[in-house]
């Protein structure tokens, strides 16, 4: 006992310098002091500079008249609206392009990623070339390529290229028929919501039944029938309320229809194609991360290649895929700020204009930072939920 007591005593140190605890506290105090001093110095300088240059500070400018037009706006906006509304327009535009890009990039990325694992030599090579080309050039260059190289050399509106379903492509963008919802079309939406709810319910019940009895139920086809059938039924019942406003060729321009501007189109295409190359690599790594023993064991149980992929490989691959996929989604959202280079009015572009007009440098940049941080946190929160659903449930 006595010897243990001796061992437990703190060993005597030569000096305080060699005591790790004292050192650690000392370093932290110095770091904190340096940080505080630095911030104090910066804030002091900033206040001085702002006063010297007679720049107002604070967020009051958000209520001022914007005075500039925005080419592409999802909500009603004119130059008489406030700066705050202009920034909101930018935020919505960023969200639209990011969301559309994420969906397309995921689809292309999964196809190419699986293509790279195909047994077919030609498909494998085509997918490899795609990935190696797009991974190694800057996204800004891809945007420029679509904008200056492809879309701006398309024919003028009067010789538009006609595409299926009454849509047209020309140097002013892509025109397609706009759906006009008539009287009673709310019934269709109601039917759609109802169908989704019902198929969710069916899937739940089918799963419970399979867990209890082992009997399977064709959930997929039932859901397809529900989601397609119910709205169709509602469409017929409510007396065909949906009509299309087709774009029509006139002498110099196309009228009617829905116009997608080339700025949006090139940004969206570039972001999708660029990010898809990274997603393809993630998918490939995910599928290869599932050990071959899993596939063989499933085969030994008598499953065929389709169910093996669906029930054994993909659920395990998704676990590996989702975390890096999330960071690719975040990258895509952040890269959407490249819109400024071709004049698509996203958040960065509009905040930049506001910054130039008001001269207030700090507040617009703070808004930008807050919004992008917020979008990042939102995306990771959603993906964390998905990840938690996919994660291995261990006892």
């Amino acid at each position: 006992m006595a010897s243990q007591e001796v061992l437990r005593e703190e060993p005597t140190r030569g000096s305080l310098i060699n005591d790790p605890r004292v050192r650690s506290i000392f370093i932290q105090v110095v770091a904190a002091l340096a940080l505080v001093l630095c911030i104090w110095w910066i804030v002091g300088n900033t206040i001085d500079n702002l006063q010297r240059l007679h720049i107002a500070s604070g967020f009051a400018f958000l209520k001022g008249r914007a005075g500039f037009d925005i080419a592409d706006s999802a909500i009603a906006y004119s130059s008489d609206n406030t700066y705050g509304r202009a920034i909101l327009v930018g935020l919505i535009n960023t969200a639209i392009v990011a969301l559309a890009g994420i969906v397309t990039a995921t689809i292309i990325g999964f196809m190419v990623g699986i293509g790279r694992l195909s047994n077919n030599w030609l498909i494998r090579k085509i997918c490899t070339v795609y990935v190696e080309v797009f991974r190694n050039i800057p996204p800004l260059l891809v945007i420029f390529f679509w904008y200056f190289g492809v879309l701006s050399v398309l024919p003028l509106p009067r010789d538009s290229i006609g595409l299926p379903f009454g849509s047209f492509l020309n140097s002013r963008g892509f025109y397609f028929p706009r759906a006009v919802w008539g009287e009673g079309s709310w019934l269709i939406f109601l039917a759609l919501v109802l169908a989704i709810a019902m198929s969710w319910f069916v899937a739940r019940k089918a799963r419970q039944r399979q867990m209890a009895t082992g009997q399977q139920f064709p959930v997929f086809w039932t859901s397809v029938a529900l989601i397609v059938g119910l709205p169709l039924l509602a469409y017929i019942v409510s007396g065909f309320p949906l009509t299309f406003d087709l774009p029509k060729k006139s002498t110099f321009n196309l009228t009617g229809g829905f116009q997608v501007k080339p700025e949006f189109l090139s940004l969206y295409l570039a972001l999708s194609f660029y990010t898809a190359a990274f997603i393809a690599e993630i998918v490939r790594a995910g599928v290869r991360g599932v050990s071959h023993g899993q596939t063989e064991a499933a085969g030994a149980l008598g499953l065929r290649s389709g169910p093996i992929l669906r029930l054994v490989v993909v659920p395990q691959a998704m676990r590996i895929v989702i975390p890096p996929l999330t960071s690719q989604y975040l990258n895509l959202t952040k890269n959407s700020s490249l819109a400024i280079a071709i004049g698509y009015p996203d958040l960065t572009a509009i905040a930049g204009t506001v910054l130039n007009q008001t001269g207030q440098a700090i507040e617009p940049v703070l808004i930008m930072m807050a919004v992008y941080l917020g979008l990042s946190l939102l995306t990771s929160a959603i993906m964390n939920v998905v990840n938690a659903k996919m994660a291995l449930v261990e006892r």
């Binding site: 047994n119 030599w121 190694n136």
Partner: protein, 385 residues
């Protein structure tokens, strides 16, 4: 028991036969890799269709119809557009790239001083090549020259203003020169800074840890453009009145800090992958914190994350193109700027210039990624399962 009861046992090896005709040669390969099943055949035919649609038109545009030399836009425009080519002609305008090559490389760097960036480039290659070849001797000396001496020499040569060299202002710099300078400095600064940030994030000191986490997560959450905006419009406000910074330097700081935050996360991944036993072993040997990190942990951790580090380098190299937004002229920006040159404007010019820029970026990035794969294989000490 007699010998006849035993089954017959062969005494010599059977002669190895060649594989059956259906299993070897081109035909078998084609059948296995292209037409293994009905679905496979359909995919192959679709793929062939895609290649047949795209490849000939690309070759035709980039080589057959392309114009390689010419004095101005007339060689790249059809008669209707005011040029000499027949109507319906479409081909790459390499003449544009040819004529503007000097600008694409050096920007508006004065013509008579261009030997300076060329000399720096030669020094850069001469020092980099032996550093990359594993068998070349004197790695330590080489690294010191490359990472310490070269930046100083390059600074003196490129900026000038001393030793009788005329001063060349950074707004005159441009093209590949800017792209490479930004990325080289970014790489040299961001790796050590990223390692320090990663160590700080895993530190047991709460204050240091908090500072590192806030820095890393903030930078990672915002786009580089915002960081560059901050560096170009907010930094002057943060400094005392009268103190001004070179714009180029501000972009350098922005890019380096941005890359350092990403680097920190990559390095942290490596640090976390090292088993606890290694840390404890180093502690029990009586090594100090820095000795432990320098001799035991970092060599193993960095080796694990080479692909991630190189990916960050590649990302940064590509991201340097964003300095266009704060109106600096890197390779992409100078190509973009030259589209509006009236003596070369034609429908083919933008695509040609952009494809040239893409090829340059692609070569550098692809080279880096291949070299990292090579290093990964070389450094693989076989501890992997």
């Amino acid at each position: 028991m007699t010998q006849t009861d035993l089954s017959w046992v062969r005494t010599e090896m059977a002669q190895a036969m060649p594989a059956p005709a259906g299993e070897r040669g081109l035909v078998a390969w084609v059948r296995k890799n292209l037409f293994a099943s009905v679905g496979d055949t359909i995919l192959t035919l679709l793929g062939l269709l895609l290649v047949a649609m795209i490849l000939p038109s690309i070759i035709n545009w980039a080589f057959v119809q392309a114009q390689w030399t010419g004095p101005d836009r007339t060689v790249c425009a059809t008669v209707a557009q005011g040029g000499i080519q027949p109507d319906g002609w479409s081909g790459a305008c390499w003449a544009f790239v040819n004529a503007k090559f000097g600008q694409f490389m050096f920007g508006r760097y004065p013509l008579e001083e261009r030997w300076r960036p060329i000399l720096v480039a030669v020094l850069f290659v001469a020092l980099l090549a032996p550093l990359l070849i594993p068998r070349a001797p004197h790695k330590g000396l080489n690294a010191v020259l490359f990472f310490l001496a070269l930046p100083i020499v390059a600074f003196i040569l490129l900026v000038g203003g001393m030793f009788g060299l005329p001063h060349v202002e950074t707004p005159l710099w441009g093209g590949l020169l800017v792209t490479l300078t930004l990325s080289f400095v970014g790489i040299v600064v961001s790796l050590p800074l990223g390692i320090l940030l990663a160590l700080g994030r895993r530190s047991k000191m709460p204050v240091v840890k908090m500072i590192c986490i806030v820095f890393i997560e903030t930078i990672r959450g915002i786009p580089l453009i915002t960081v560059l905006f901050m560096a170009s419009v907010m930094l002057p406000l943060f400094l005392p009145a009268g103190v001004t910074f070179d714009k180029f330097l501000r972009a350098l700081i922005g890019v380096s800090l941005f890359a350092a935050a990403y680097m920190a996360e990559v390095v942290r991944g490596g640090l976390q992958a090292i088993p606890k036993g290694q840390y404890e072993g180093a502690d029990s040997l009586g090594l100090s914190y820095w000795q432990k990190m320098y001799f035991i942990v970092l060599p193993q951790a960095l080796k694990l994350v080479i692909p991630g580090i190189v990916n960050t380098f590649i990302g940064m190299f590509k991201d340097t193109s964003l300095v266009y937004i704060i109106s600096m002229f890197d390779l992409l920006a100078i190509v973009r700027q030259n589209f509006s040159d009236a003596s070369w404007a034609s429908p083919q010019t933008p695509a040609s210039g952009l494809i040239f820029a893409a090829a340059v970026f692609w070569l550098f990035c692809f080279g880096m990624s291949r070299y990292s794969m090579f290093m990964e294989r070389r450094l693989d000490t076989g501890h992997k399962r």
